[in-house]
């Protein structure tokens, strides 16, 4: 599994140069940062039984529990109690028993330590209703990769039973604020296994995954102004891609990963520019006398959605990636910001102010029909899962900033509840290769 970079040889030097701004690239042991709390009630959910894997007792990760939590968080599955049943992948289940318990599907498996210290994990998925074997998987991995294996098993089950790609083995990035310390984290899609990519005494905002999942662009205020870095996740090395006079913010990747769109104020006002992702002279994308910001590319790379207050209030607009033919997309309300597009191109998520409350909305692009899907009042920064089935966003609950995932209809929400400080600025990474 990918590990974040552990060292930056010149960390001390950098620290000295940035003096009061404490910046260190570091490695922290993986720890449990989140709790899943499903707060909605689903409509059609597949009842699934996942028996404790044979050997789970002595394994460092409880595979069955992780798989079930993943599937339940998607909103499309409901766990069926398996009691103390523990069955390996080789045993054919007594289907009538599981039918009686109400299960439509059943997962069995085993985990065993190999002579070389790695773990051998095997699983099999059964269609209880039809009494059929739906296939299985096996893995041999080091202990640190056991969670990833569990997520891949959840992906396998999800795809077999729903026909859609699972996203449980993808990663998310987000920012925490604890006291006056800001931390950029890369974590599994369930919020676990979080590793710090950057720690700073100044704010970090707008992290954005590169399409290939190997880099993250973000805005850091470590030099007492917003500048854009691109950070290599595996090595921890980063490069400054936009530090022009004024503010530099809102980085967004083109689908081919070669170009960044960003908001720069170098020529006065917050305006959109395109630049090579490896750096270079920005090209002005559009010119307006008003605020243009929060660009995001469509999946085909041909258009860019963005926010502009050119009509007197902030609204979502769309234009060709050349900057031509801007047209307004949101018409309801006087404050519509933070557009996010689903990878399948069908949905637009954004934040709309309704009676003073900032609420996550989802618009079906083919009809223009938009719906508020939360009952919170300070929602921010939505980002779609790579299978377009879920959205992660930031909100406030009981005065704390937290992250939520939701289905597109808003019916199933899970809180990724942090234990320390405020959690914000999520971005859901691409499908793992």
């Amino acid at each position: 599994m990918m590990l974040l970079s552990q060292h930056w040889d010149n960390a001390q030097m950098l620290k000295r140069l940035l003096f009061c701004f404490f910046i260190v690239l570091q490695s922290l042991p993986a720890f449990s940062q989140f709790r899943i709390e499903v707060s909605g009630v689903g409509l059609t959910q597949i009842p699934i039984a996942i028996a404790s894997f044979k050997g789970d007792d002595s394994a460092p990760q409880k595979i069955a529990g992780i798989v079930l939590a993943d599937l339940e968080r998607s909103g499309q599955f409901r766990g069926v109690d398996t009691g103390t049943a523990s069955m390996d992948e080789g045993s054919r289940p007594e289907f009538s028993n599981w039918r009686q318990k109400g299960a439509d599907a059943f997962v069995t498996g085993s985990i065993a330590k190999l002579a070389d210290g790695r773990y051998d994990i095997r699983m099999r998925l059964w269609d209880v209703a039809r009494g059929q074997d739906l296939g299985g998987q096996s893995f041999a991995v080091v202990a640190n990769d056991l969670r990833l294996v569990a997520h891949r098993i959840a992906d396998f089950v999800y795809e077999k039973l729903t026909g859609d790609k699972g996203v449980f083995s993808t990663r998310i990035v987000y920012v925490t604020k604890g006291g006056q310390t800001f931390n950029l984290w890369v974590a599994d899609a369930d919020g676990e296994n979080a590793q710090s990519a950057l720690k700073s005494a100044e704010p970090i905002i707008s992290p954005s995954w590169a399409p290939n999942g190997s880099q993250i662009a973000y805005v850091s205020f470590e030099s007492r102004k917003p500048v854009i870095y691109v950070h290599d996740v595996a090595s921890g090395k980063r490069r400054l891609v936009a530090n022009f006079k004024g503010s530099n913010s809102a980085p967004a990747w083109s689908p081919d990963g070669k170009t960044l769109a960003a908001t720069l104020s170098r020529d006065g006002g917050s305006q959109l520019y395109l630049m090579d992702a490896s750096g270079g002279e920005p090209q002005r994308l559009a010119q307006s006398g008003s605020i243009d910001t929060e660009p995001t590319f469509t999946v085909d790379g041909k258009s860019i959605y963005f926010v502009s207050d050119r009509g007197g209030s902030p609204q979502v607009y769309r234009m060709a990636a050349s900057g031509n033919n801007p047209e307004r997309v949101t018409f309801s309300g006087t404050y519509n910001i933070s557009p996010a597009l689903s990878p399948d191109g069908k949905w637009l998520a954004y934040i709309s102010r309704v009676s003073g409350a900032f609420k996550l909305h989802v618009m079906e692009l083919s009809t223009g029909v938009a719906t508020a899907i939360t009952d919170t009042s300070a929602d921010e920064n939505p980002s779609f899962s790579p299978n377009s089935r879920m959205i992660i966003y930031a909100t406030q609950q009981q005065g704390r900033e937290s992250l939520m995932t939701t289905t597109l209809d808003g019916k199933i929400k899970a809180r990724l509840a942090g234990q320390n400080g405020d959690i914000r600025e999520p971005d859901w990474g691409p499908m793992q290769k």
Binding site: C20, F221, K225, L240, S247, S278, P314
Partner: protein, 178 residues
């Protein structure tokens, strides 16, 4: 590219951390040519000299500097507004005189907003505030090259809490000498 950052960065380093600060080159890869690398003033033609001049200017203007340190450096704004209130005209006039007196002096105007709304849009709103202050200083004769307008959006509130009193304190632009 934006070499002027040398001018603010070097004296800032020297004044903030004293002579113990070594101006080692930063190893951040700099494809844009605009990175923190300019902190390595000595490696760029003219950079070092500019930096030294900046330090000297602080010393020469000491009494004046002291005066400005006690002067108001925060300009407050009304809700959803970038208009500079009349009460801040004299404040900006005194800052303009101070900046104009030393062509090496560099100042950043840092725009801020209250906590309502999105982070990036608030960053753009804060930028409008800082640019409004910059424009006013420009009208008062300050050279464009001496001022940088930046924004912190809602990321650095002066007062915490969601009360109207706190939000009033957060809708501001700060004048930061560098």
């Amino acid at each position: 590219m934006k070499k002027w950052i040398l001018v603010i960065a070097v004296p800032l380093l020297l004044t903030a951390c004293g002579s113990a600060v070594k101006l080692d080159p930063v190893t951040v890869e700099d494809k844009a040519g605009t990175s923190t690398r300019p902190l390595d003033a000595g490696s760029k033609a003219g950079g070092s000299g500019v930096g030294q001049s900046g330090v000297a200017a602080v010393d020469l203007g000491k009494s004046n500097q002291d005066a400005m340190q006690t002067a108001t450096k925060v300009i407050y704004f009304d809700y959803d507004s970038f208009a500079i209130r009349p009460e801040f005209q004299s404040v900006l006039e005194s800052h303009a005189r101070f900046i104009k007196a030393d062509k090496y002096k560099r100042v950043a105007i840092e725009g801020h907003t209250d906590e309502r709304g999105g982070r990036e849009y608030n960053l753009a709103l804060g930028q409008k505030r800082s640019e409004a202050v910059k424009a006013r200083l420009g009208l008062l004769g300050v050279a464009d090259s001496q001022i940088e307008a930046v924004s912190f959006g809602k990321e650095k509130p002066a007062a915490t809490g969601s009360t109207e009193a706190a939000m009033e304190k957060n809708r501001r632009a700060e004048i930061a000498y560098r």
